[in-house]
Structures are given as structure tokens and as C-alpha cells.
Subunit: 228 residues, 2 copies
């Protein structure tokens, strides 16, 4: 493993608070790969062999129905743990993970993860905290899908993308519009129309770059307070 990768690994929230010894134990057999666009990291239905940690780049979590229709469950980026539960429980993946922007991914053998859970208290703790965070993002998404219209979901997504809560910003969509549409539970066409709906609210966009004239206004429109 490269020294630069070791540093990146150390910054992954899941591992950041581990003792040097615990870190060493857990990462003993880690492999780090640079993977190109569209690489499949894991496949829905299969059993996990590694825990994947995203060091850089973007990964999409894709769920598919048996009819073959696909949707994006969520996007993951640097510092994210990919599908910990499947590894922890040694259960089949409920979704596939696909690299979108060339990414560096650390592969931790599943056995090492499960052993670390039993043996390294700090690791279980960190894992629990991470999962708690993901829990909350999923609750938000479930509420969004059930309670908000397509344009409102888009607005909420855009506000979430921005670090600011007022003024004007530019944000970059994490993926092409087809994927974003899937993440928001709609078709690309509906996403286009949702953008048109938000234009009067000061949302303009070209490709992945979106400009928000007034974040606060957008947040009001979609009742963004609900988050956090």
C-alpha cells in the first residue's frame, strides 16, 4: 500500500479514531485499487468478500428489481464505507455499487472486518456511529419519497449539495442527470421538468453545474429544515 493511501485511509471516519495498533490490524491485508468509470464493485445478490472504502472519486449504489429496472439508492464519495451491513452480517448485497468518477477504493477482506468487530472495541463503536449516520440519510430519503413532489425532492437535493444555507452558490451534480433522476425516484424527463419548475426560484443549470440564486428561498420552498 502506498503511503498516500495509508493517509487517505486514516482519514476515513470509520478508521480515523482507531488506535495505531487497531488500524494496523484491520488494514493488514488491505488492497487499494484505482478503478475506472463503470467498474462494478459488488453485485446485488452476491455475498460480500470485501468491505469497500471510498478514498476518492464517486460511487453509485444501484438497486434493481427482478424485472431489470434499475434505480439509484444513493451516491457515495470519499470517506464513505460502501455496504457495511452486508459484510457485517455476511448477507447478500441488496444493491450493486458502481464507480462513476475514477475512484480509489480500499478493499478490506470481509473476514478481517468481522474479526475486528469482535476484537476491536473502537472499531465496533466507529461502525455503529457510521451506520447511525447512514440510517438518518435513509430515513430522510424515505420521507422525501413519500411526502414530497418531484420538484421539491430536487430542490431538497440541491440544497443538500450546497454547504451554504443562504446567498447564491454553484453546486455540482454528483453524476449525470439520468443517475440523479434515479436517485430522486423519477425519470430523466421528469428531472428536466423539475428543473424548469425551479427556474422561477432561481435555479439554472448547464450539465452538472447548477447555479442557485438564493439557497434560502429554495430551502423554504422544499421545507429543508427537516434535515438534521
Amino acid at each position: 500500500m502506498r503511503e498516500s493511501d495509508r493517509e487517505l485511509l486514516r482519514q476515513v471516519p470509520l478508521l480515523a479514531d482507531l488506535s495505531e495498533a487497531a488500524f494496523a490490524t484491520l488494514t493488514r491485508r488491505v488492497l487499494v485499487h484505482s478503478l475506472p468509470h463503470a467498474t462494478l464493485l459488488c453485485r446485488q445478490g452476491e455475498r460480500p468478500e470485501h468491505l469497500h472504502l471510498v478514498l476518492s472519486g464517486q460511487v453509485t449504489l444501484v438497486g434493481r428489481s427482478d424485472a431489470g429496472v434499475e434505480t439509484v439508492v444513493d451516491f457515495f464519495g470519499a470517506g464513505d464505507v460502501l455496504i457495511a451491513p452486508a459484510v457485517m452480517l455476511d448477507a447478500p448485497y441488496l444493491a450493486s455499487a458502481r464507480v462513476v468518477n475514477d475512484a480509489r477504493i480500499a478493499f478490506v477482506p470481509a473476514d478481517d472486518v468481522r474479526q475486528a468487530m469482535a476484537a476491536l472495541p473502537g472499531f465496533s463503536h466507529a461502525l455503529a456511529v457510521q451506520l447511525a449516520r447512514y440510517w438518518r440519510t435513509f430515513i430522510r430519503q424515505i420521507k422525501e419519497l413519500k411526502l414530497y413532489s418531484a420538484p421539491e425532492r430536487l430542490a431538497g437535493f440541491l440544497v443538500g449539495l450546497s454547504s451554504q444555507r443562504e446567498g447564491s452558490t454553484k453546486v455540482a451534480l454528483p453524476e449525470d442527470r439520468k443517475q440523479v433522476a434515479a436517485r430522486l425516484g423519477m425519470t430523466p424527463e421528469s428531472l428536466s421538468r423539475a428543473f424548469v419548475t425551479l427556474r422561477p426560484l432561481g435555479v439554472t443549470g448547464k450539465g452538472k453545474q447548477v447555479t442557485i440564486a438564493d439557497v434560502a428561498r429554495l430551502a423554504t420552498y422544499c421545507q429543508y429544515d427537516r434535515v438534521l
Copy 2:
């Protein structure tokens, strides 16, 4: 605390594997209450003061939009940990919890939970495992909402309610049809129509009792394999 409650507590998966000492530390200040129908255990937006463990009865997790529209995120029953992430992260609840069938609920002070996370390795471990399970149920629900029609979601829900995978069964809805409709992301009217749609597939119901003539057929209809 009653002796019977101690036994129930011991069977909650979150606590089942703890050492006697760890269990004693964590439950030192536990209070157990019997709570009637409609009691609010926690309110969306508020900060958690207790971790709630369901010893018996049923609890509904209710999310609301700022417009005041409510939806059911999920149902919880005996053995479930209510909203651990909010307590763990000391973050505001993203949903409210409401008792539906008179329930016995254990209240663990939030401070004790956070202390136990830091001090009791076994507890963090158990917490991580529990959260991993919930993670999966939410992934399933997100996929269902995005990929399946209303009748398909109902079918999947019914199959999940049954412990069998073939033959005929009777299942009991966890709550009245309005709540079930919300859980499935639809209106009560649509739920009624979804039941009508499933009638040719051998689903008949009266109130909370639903009879499934052929679970396997229903599972095929909604591609139930996806689960676990």
C-alpha cells in the same frame, strides 16, 4: 424494575449478548412503562433523552413534512430499538414514535447509552449489528418505493408479514389500514384498490386479518426474492 421486565429486556437482541455486568451497568437506571394506544414516545425535531426499547406491543415511526402531512416510516415491535441513531449522535429525531397497541417500553437514559457505547465493547458491537439490520430494511423500502407499483408493494409487504414462503396463511396487519397505507407510500383509497387488484391472486381480507391463498404465487407476483 419488575423481574418479568428484566427478562424481557434480556431478550432484546441489542442486549441479549451482553455480559451480566455490562447489562447491569446499562440498565442501572432503566424505567419501564406500560403505555396506552396513541402515546407519543418522541417527537420529530426534539432531542432524545432516552433510548426506547420495545418489550411488547407495537410502535409506529411517523415522519411528517413541514406542511403537516404525515407518513409511516416503519412499524416496530417487541425486541426493537426505537431510534438509536438520534440518541447515539445526540441529534434531533427525524421522526416521531407513537404507540399503537398498548406497549411496554423501556427507557434508557441517553447519557447511559452514550457512555456504554464508549465503555462497553459488546454494546457497540450489538448496536452496530442492529443498525446494520435496520439499514437493510430501509434499503428494501427505498427500492420498493422507487421500483414497484402500489399493488406490488402491498404484495411484498404481505409476504413479509408471513413467516411462510408457500401454501396458504393468515396474517395480521400491524396497524389499521390508514397506517399501513402510509407505510407503503400510498393513500388508504389506493390501498383498498391494491387489495382489489390482489384478490385474483388469492388475497382476501377483513379488517386487520388477511388471508393469502398461495404465498408462493404472491411472492412471484411481486418478485419477493429480492428480500434477504
